[in-house]
């Protein structure tokens, strides 16, 4: 049975790291559902959030182990649904003119979206949220006509005080205060 899993991968911020990760997935036949990468609180590090659809725990284990073998990978966390906050960002251009603009705005508002551009016959809505919320918003906007859609990969952060860098050399917490 396939299921979605979120991996958070802390890597050294060096040229070619993303190519190594994507190359690993390509050659071992693993599928990436979404990928987001960016800098972190430490300029030496980047953090990659991967959403994967895998057939079994064994495949997920193999992916994690192979990723761990990459020399630039510092740490990998797999987030269970309850213990992490996940967000993705969309910008969506919807057909909306004088007759139905207010309806589109109302939908956007319900999802705490923001209108970031308005033209005579379209609006651009910005929204963030988890996968389910974004899908629901898109479903409601669909009947008005979606002209364009861009979507970021999902980013995720564990809930609570703990950090991915805990007990690593990148841990900035004084030793006495570590949990």
């Amino acid at each position: 049975m396939s299921a979605f899993h979120t991996l958070s991968v802390l890597v050294q911020n060096q040229p070619g790291v993303l190519a190594r990760i994507s190359g690993l997935f390509a050659r071992r036949g693993f599928n990436i559902e979404s990928l987001a990468v960016g800098p972190t609180e430490n300029h030496e590090l980047s953090r990659v959030t991967l959403v994967l659809e895998v057939e079994s725990d064994a495949v997920l284990e193999q992916i994690t182990k192979q990723l761990n073998k990459l020399v630039e990978v510092i740490r990998i966390l797999e987030f269970d649904p309850g213990e992490a906050v996940r967000r993705e960002l969309i910008l969506v251009k919807v057909r909306a003119d004088g007759r139905n603009r207010s309806q589109v705005l109302e939908i956007a508002e319900m999802f705490r979206g923001r209108v970031v551009d308005v033209a005579p016959d379209s609006v651009v809505v910005e929204a963030t949220g988890g996968y389910g919320k974004i899908q629901a918003l898109l479903m409601l906007l669909e009947p008005y006509g979606i002209r364009e859609l861009v979507q970021s990969g999902s980013v995720a952060l564990g809930r609570g005080t703990r950090a991915i860098t805990d007990r690593s050399r990148y841990d900035k917490t004084p030793k006495s205060e570590r949990v």
């Binding site: 890597v11 050294q12 040229p15 070619g16 190519a19 190594r20 190359g23 690993l24 050659r27 064994a58 284990e61 193999q62 182990k65 192979q66 761990n68 073998k69 990459l70 020399v71 630039e72 990978v73 510092i74 690593s168 050399r169 990148y170």
Partner: protein, 584 residues
């Protein structure tokens, strides 16, 4: 190490000098390589260095020679090439080293950093090309980064699960002035191989072994990399558990030992394959359940619980689920296991070892049908082994001769067997033998090669002749791509499409050998075999090539056809072992 290197003070020098000083500092004694435009700056200080450089004839030869050196000596082998085609010619050797976990470092020149990405002359993205076939690789464009990259490359190549590392250095980084200071320190926060196995896991292994009635130790190349021969011998002496050695582990346990069942897999012995199919406990140490060993996975070792020890956690559970995973160094694991087993009482393994001894006795590896009219390849290889003495190092190519060499040479000592297992690289033999001889100049080094393989890399015999590297190459000349021909005979209705090399006609291997500065010999009848082998063994000032013109229809048996179950092993065409008679 030179005094310059030991000094703590920073010195001003070029990046190229910094590279050579770093190689000296890390203890490199020999580099196999070919210069060219982008790497040219490095060759100038190398000219004055105590590091020996051997000018090969093709970069593939440099990479395989580095591998041969590494396997024979246990040290990290080094090869060097220029950018573009020089670097891409290393690719086959890097892929081979990656598949067989051989520690080598490849140093390549790259075009000037300002030109990278512009399709400059002799530019190739060798770092990108080698992502999937190196353990790690670096692109260095800042001369200050050269010592750290070299230190890290050797650390990564030689520790944990060994493997190839490539360091690509731009020409401007080699030419520019820099401060050199060797600290030898390596800063790799994401690289922490697990070497010491978990005590509780090893204790659990001891318990499982104590409960087993039909245990088998399956030894792979990892035991060779960990240099675990002594620990393995002790473990077997202590427990009496039978041993199977994969192709990469031949010699890690002596073939003459009654508990050695031989090699498993597609061309394994009936005893080894039978041991795996009938065992109730499969103790895998440093082996990776390669498809050439397992055949059809679903029917492989069907009754076995699996203890899988490997230094690479990703190998555990990759192909076969492990009941007990142990991540760690094979040598340490076996030593620890021996200690834990002191507290356990093993079951009586008598019936099990008697069963295997009976298989081993009745199903010996097919030595072929002798005749006065033609040479049997199996017999030729056997005689080379018998006449050459126990300290001889053997390298092989890939194919039928490789399998016969795996079966018929005397595999009694570790680190004397060099073969291309995972990648199956034809052309490995001659350069690998060259590298081994450079690393072990006092050893007799034989290459057992095929006529097809030999024609891929034989140019390195010129390198051998010019550099006083007197290796001996036995060409098992069956005039064809023998293993492919065997498959065509068995699975393609005998249609021998494009496997006839006409090597009886061209090239004339004796003349070719002589043209390359070697002694060329030939044997065509059984009576000549011992004579030419002895003659070759007496020549120590030149490389020797012997053209053994052998029977072209000889086949490698036993055989498990690709994708079928190991239980369906055939001992000859249409002939299976009589399993049903076996009561256990």
């Amino acid at each position: 190490m030179t005094d310059t290197v030991l000094s703590d003070s920073k010195q001003i020098m070029t990046g190229a000098q910094s590279l050579v000083a770093s190689l000296e500092a890390v203890g490199v004694e020999v580099i196999f390589g070919i210069p060219g435009g982008a790497i040219l700056p490095a060759y100038d200080p190398l000219f004055d260095s105590k590091v020996r450089h051997i000018l090969v004839r093709h970069e593939q030869g440099a990479a395989h020679a580095a591998e041969g050196y590494a396997v024979a000596t246990g040290r990290v082998g080094v090869c060097m090439a220029t950018s573009g085609p020089g670097a891409t010619n290393l690719v086959t050797g890097l892929a081979d080293a990656y598949m067989d976990s051989v520690p080598i470092v490849a140093i390549t020149g790259q075009v000037n950093s300002a030109s990278i990405g512009t399709d400059a002359f002799q530019e190739a993205d060798i770092r990108g090309i080698t992502f999937p076939i190196t353990k790690h690789n670096f692109l260095v464009t800042d001369p200050a980064g050269i010592p750290a990259a070299i230190a890290a490359a050797f650390e990564i190549a030689g520790t944990g699960r060994p493997g190839p590392v490539l360091v690509d250095i731009s020409k401007d980084a080699l030419s520019a002035m820099t401060e050199f200071q060797w600290t030898g320190e390596v800063d790799l926060p994401g690289y922490r191989p697990t070497v010491r196995p978990h005590t509780r896991q090893v204790q659990q292994a001891a318990k499982m072994i104590a409960e087993a009635e039909r245990p088998v130790l399956v030894i792979g190349g990892g035991v060779s990399k960990a240099d675990g021969g002594a620990e393995l011998a002790a473990l077997v002496a202590q427990t009496g558990i039978p041993v199977v050695t994969t192709l990469m582990a031949r010699g890690m346990f002596p073939d003459s030992h009654p508990l050695n069942m031989g090699m498993p897999g597609m061309h394994g012995t009936v005893a080894a394959v039978g041991a795996l199919q009938r065992c109730d406990l499969f103790i895998a140490i440093g082996m990776r359940f390669d498809d050439r060993v397992t055949g059809q996975l679903s029917s492989f070792a069907p009754d076995a619980k699996v203890i899988h020890c490997d230094i690479d956690p990703a190998e555990i559970g990759k192909n076969r689920e492990a009941d007990l995973p142990i991540v760690g160094d094979a040598k340490l694991m076996m030593a620890q296991l021996s200690k834990e087993l002191e507290n356990e009482t093993l079951k009586d393994l008598g019936p099990w070892t008697a069963f295997l001894a009976s298989l081993k006795d009745r199903y010996r590896t097919d030595p072929g049908d002798p005749s006065d009219d033609y040479l049997l390849p199996q017999e030729v290889i056997k005689r080379i082994g018998e006449l050459s003495g126990p300290d001889t190092i053997f390298a092989t190519g890939v194919g039928q001769h490789q399998m016969w060499a795996a079966h018929f040479l005397p595999h009694e000592q570790p680190h004397k067997w060099l073969t291309s297992g995972g990648a199956g690289t034809m052309g490995y033999c001659v350069p690998a033998a060259m590298g081994a001889k450079v690393g072990k100049p006092d050893a007799v080094v034989w290459g057992i090669d095929g006529d097809g393989c030999f024609q891929m890399t034989n140019q390195e015999l010129v390198t051998c002749a010019l550099n006083d590297i007197p290796i001996k190459i036995a060409i098992i000349n069956n005039e064809s791509l023998g293993m492919v021909r065997q498959w065509q005979t068995l699975f393609y209705g005998g249609r021998h499409s494009n496997t006839d090399l006409h090597s009886w006609r061209l090239p004339d291997f004796v003349k070719l050998a002589e043209a390359m500065g070697c002694v060329g010999l030939r044997a065509e009848t059984p009576a000549e075999v011992d004579m030419v082998i002895k003659q070759a063994l007496e020549i120590n000032d030149k490389p020797v090539v012997i053209d053994f013109v052998v029977h072209k229809d000889a086949m490698v048996w036993p055989m498990v056809a690709a994708g079928t179950s190991n239980s369906d092993i055939m001992i000859a065409k249409d002939l299976a072992p009589a399993w049903d008679e076996e009561e256990l």
